[in-house]
């Protein structure tokens, strides 16, 4: 009887082990390695083998194994290391400036360039043949030609 109970307990433990791990991970280590910085070497985790980077990779792997989402993992890391741990600033609040300023700059530059081209094309007169005569002579010549007509 005791042997049977022990065997049942062992089987239950063997089944419970894999069930405790995350069956459907919500994110991957490869993805987060590109989103998180190594705090001591200032590169993303995927480009670093520094001890601090290895520690954070292990922490991420542990959280993925617990079915945490990328956002949850990033929030935990930000709470621990500050915003600087993120490779890109978040899409909210003041940090939105980091996303929109470059786009705004490009749009503004394009507008300035377009305006300049438009003005240049309007102010440029078509080439006119020059007579080489001053106004007075030209007027006298016109009068003479009128008389001849």
């Amino acid at each position: 009887m005791i042997v049977r109970l022990l065997a049942a307990a062992a089987a239950a433990l063997a089944l419970a082990g894999p069930a405790a791990a995350c069956a459907h991970p919500k994110t991957s280590l490869a993805y987060l390695e590109g989103q998180i910085m190594c705090p001591t070497c200032h590169t993303t985790l995927d480009q670093s083998d520094a001890p601090a980077a290895q520690q954070i990779k292990a922490e991420i792997a542990k959280r993925i194994g617990q079915c945490w989402s990328a956002q949850q993992i990033e929030s935990e890391l930000v709470g621990n290391f500050g915003q600087g741990i993120l490779a890109a600033p978040p899409h909210k609040g003041f940090d939105l400036l980091a996303w929109w300023l470059p786009i705004g700059g490009v749009v503004l530059g394009a507008l300035v360039l377009a305006g300049g081209v438009w003005r240049w094309s309007r102010t440029r007169e078509p080439d006119q043949p020059e007579s080489g005569l001053d106004e007075d002579t030209e007027r006298k010549l016109d009068e003479l030609l009128a008389r001849l007509d």
Binding site: P51, A52, N80, F81, G82, G84
Partner: protein, 178 residues
């Protein structure tokens, strides 16, 4: 109309250049320089990792302080942890306070480290590394000595104290007697 447009453009361009120059000046004037020996130790108020609440360095004014920057991922830090704890027990009767600053570290790993090495002196978390940067840290471990008036004294120890034991005790003496 064209003249107004031109003037507006020029003003905008000047404002942009002025803004960039302002940013440059701000960056140059706000660069952190490593503190000098004899100068004030950069203050901090950091979350305690060994307990609750925060620890303010200024609150320790009047006591000599040994400030040790470390991290759980740092191999040499493991080597000096026991020595630091022994020194803390040796000097705390003289009023010396040891403070550990956990630098760029995962908090749970840091707590495991503290428990594993039996560290009993207060330890704070510098996850972003901002305080380490203010001290001009080049890596971990590094140890600083602060006298009763809050000034950096002695020679700060770069690297583990295990092979600089004499310099470590000299630093504590300098903090005690200056």
């Amino acid at each position: 109309m064209t003249r107004t447009l031109k003037l507006t453009g020029q003003i905008l361009a000047l404002a942009a250049v002025g803004g960039l120059l302002g940013l440059l000046v701000w960056r140059l004037t706000h660069q952190s320089h490593p503190p000098k020996i004899g100068g004030p130790a950069p203050n901090f108020s950091l979350r305690r990792i060994d307990g609750t609440g925060k620890l303010d360095l200024a609150s320790l004014r009047g006591k000599p302080v040994v400030l040790n920057f470390w991290a759980s991922w740092c191999v040499p830090c493991k080597g000096e942890a026991t020595l630091l704890e022994q020194a803390w027990r040796q000097y705390k009767g003289s009023g010396v306070v040891f403070v550990g600053v956990d630098y760029h570290d995962v908090a749970s790993d840091a707590r495991t480290f503290l428990a594993h090495h039996g560290i009993t002196y207060p330890t704070v978390q510098d996850g972003s590394g901002m305080i380490g940067d203010r001290y001009g840290l080049t890596g971990v471990p590094e140890t600083y000595f602060i006298d009763r008036r809050g000034r950096l004294v002695g020679t700060h120890i770069v690297g583990t104290i295990t092979n600089q034991v004499a310099a470590f005790h000299d630093g504590i003496q300098a903090a005690l007697h200056q």
